[in-house]
């Protein structure tokens, strides 16, 4: 029987794009294109099973072995540090993790910097590397309003086009790290499904280079 490769796809536009690449890499799955509300699709002939999961959960599925392969943003990998192989930069979903503040903001080094973010670890590491004392305010959404309402001095968040920042009178102060979608693999799956994973990585790498 052909080895089944379990692939966790992030729901949304990015997931659609990577699915097209997986299919082109030799792992097609006609069933996934049918209109229905199913979340798991498989093609035993191609030896692949796809499932749609919340983008921030992909790394958990892969780390715990429910998925052999997945696609996760570098932001998630840096924040949660899952124990997985990071095999390829797919050069999709390109954006950056940045520090943003109200226009004209000046950092006062005499005071603790209040940082609002969803990404406490990334923000913490960024400021720890420069020895800046910060107070992290963990928020789950609408981060942009934190400095406007005086909840924080700056925010650390993902910036794609910068439109939301502009509309809220914020600007990027510095880039923390560039972000893009990464192909990740479970470490044990890499040992026991090596052939299928290698074939998939080669197929994906070729498309990244094209």
């Amino acid at each position: 029987m052909k080895t089944m490769l379990n692939i966790a796809l992030p729901k949304g536009r990015l997931g659609e794009k990577v699915l097209a690449r997986f299919e082109k890499a030799g792992f097609p799955c006609p069933a996934i294109h049918e209109t229905n509300r199913k979340l798991i699709f498989e093609n035993p002939e191609a030896g692949v099973r796809y499932f749609w999961v919340k983008p921030s959960d992909v790394a958990i599925y892969v780390e715990r072995g429910a998925a052999d392969i997945g696609v996760a943003g570098k932001d998630i990998l840096l924040e949660y540090r899952p124990d997985v192989y990071e095999l390829l930069d797919l050069k999709l979903g390109i954006c950056r993790m940045a520090v943003a503040a109200p226009k004209g903001f000046r950092d006062d080094p005499r005071r603790t910097l209040r940082v609002a973010t969803k990404f406490a670890r990334i923000a913490g590491d960024h400021y720890a590397a420069r020895g800046r004392d910060i107070d992290i305010i963990h928020l789950n959404g609408s981060i942009e309003i934190a400095p406007i309402l005086g909840l924080s001095d700056v925010i650390v968040d993902i910036v794609e086009t910068g439109t939301t920042l502009k509309e809220n009178d914020l600007e990027v102060v510095e880039t923390v790290v560039p972000i893009s979608a990464r192909l990740i693999a479970n470490k044990a799956a890499g040992k026991f499904k090596a052939e299928a994973i290698d074939a998939l990585v080669r197929g994906m790498a070729q498309q990244t280079e094209d």
């Binding site: 780390e63 990071e86 095999l87 390829l88 930069d89 470490k187 044990a188 040992k191 026991f192």
Partner: protein, 369 residues
């Protein structure tokens, strides 16, 4: 002994103790507690740096053991030849996935003293045999920290750590850029990138690795790796060995061969070990050392299959049945499987057969097999 009722980790413990004992390893028993100071001084050696502490009656800050190796090294003495020890202990540390403290059952062995090529082979062989005792399909990934350390000689510590992390993640795309930022020589950078891609059976990888490392500072470490791995040639275990440089351990503690074991069905490594001469020096020992740990808690779901029944038989008895009669019937039924005796039909127990005691005889009234 009937081992069908044992859990995976319990079965593994029996098998491993028998294996290690056969090769002259002596069981090592230690206290659950250790002075906290030991862990503070070697924090980076621990898998997780969070430790459960408490103040002992004499005012000393103590810790529930998060690790076994440090305690064994602390109690080791130089000049006593080669000490071969094995353990089966509970340790307490933060679980990677839940971020809460867990009690973890760990078995393993340590070989301390004048470590020669045979000792290295023996420990590797016992690691491979341990995996085979746990599952039929298994892989032992082997690397050598000396190779990576030699290539990273002179690279600032922070950059070296980032590079090692990229190697461990097989993250080639970032490895090159980290090397460039740290001004690592282009030849070394390209070599590191090639090392990450080089993984597979020793017979295929070692010749290519030899060519790559020729005339580099890592040539000596390469020879050591070859000696250890080639000792498996012609043995049944050779098929499960892989050279894989993504096995990286902290170079401040680990000095030579490092390895990780995987079994099919468990999504993470179940065995980890290596040669840790640097830790020995840090703890002011002249002896060398090599060892490994088997994470028994990770075997819990191995070969997980839903058990359809809690017990094989339920025996119903009535008010008139004497304890002796019930006991005789239970005894008879227990010859073929597990039995529970009760007065009324149990609601929450899944059973294969339901028996009713009728005088001296038990009668089968339901069979769900």
């Amino acid at each position: 002994m009937n081992t069908t009722q044992l859990k995976n980790d319990e079965k593994a413990v029996f098998a491993l103790r028998e294996l290690y004992g056969r090769y002259g390893y002596i069981p090592y028993k230690m206290s659950k507690f250790e002075e906290y100071d030991l862990y503070v001084r070697n924090k980076d050696f621990l898998i997780s740096d969070s430790v459960i502490t408490f103040t002992d009656t004499n005012g000393k800050l103590m810790a529930l053991k998060p690790d076994v190796t440090l305690s064994i090294v602390k109690n080791s003495r130089d000049g006593e030849g080669v000490q071969k020890l094995y353990y089966h202990e509970n340790v307490y540390r933060v679980s990677g996935s839940t971020h809460t403290f867990k009690e973890i059952v760990q078995a393993g062995l340590e070989c301390i003293g004048e470590i020669d090529d045979y000792c290295v082979y023996e420990v590797l062989m016992l690691a491979a045999e341990s995996l085979r005792r746990i599952a039929d399909t298994c892989v032992l990934d082997i690397s050598h920290m000396g190779i990576l350390s030699a290539l990273l000689e002179g690279v600032p510590a922070t950059a070296a750590q980032q590079i090692l992390r990229c190697v461990g993640d097989k993250n080639v795309h970032e490895l090159a850029s980290v090397c460039d930022t740290a001004e690592v020589a282009p030849a070394t950078r390209d070599l590191l990138v090639q090392l990450v891609g080089l993984c597979g059976k020793p017979v295929a990888v070692l010749p290519r690795l030899g060519e790559l490392l020729q005339n580099t500072a890592a040539a000596g470490a390469y020879e050591e790796l070859c000696t250890a791995v080639c000792a498996f040639d012609g043995t049944a275990l050779s098929d499960m060995l892989r050279i894989d440089f993504s096995v990286v351990s902290d170079a401040r503690y680990y000095s030579g061969i490092v390895f990780k074991g995987f079994v099919d069905g468990v999504p993470e490594s179940v065995l980890s070990g290596g040669r840790y001469d640097h830790l020995m020096r840090k703890m002011h020992r002249r002896s060398d050392a090599i060892g490994f740990a088997v994470y028994l808690d990770r075997l819990e779901r191995l070969g997980d299959s839903d058990r359809p029944f809690d017990v094989d038989a339920v025996l119903l008895y009535g008010d008139k049945d004497t304890p002796a009669t019930v006991a005789r019937a239970v005894q008879a039924l227990s010859q073929t499987g597990s039995v529970t005796a009760c007065r009324t039909r149990p609601e929450k127990v899944a059973f294969r057969q339901l028996w009713q005691l009728n005088g001296e005889e038990a009668q089968l009234i339901e069979d769900h097999a």
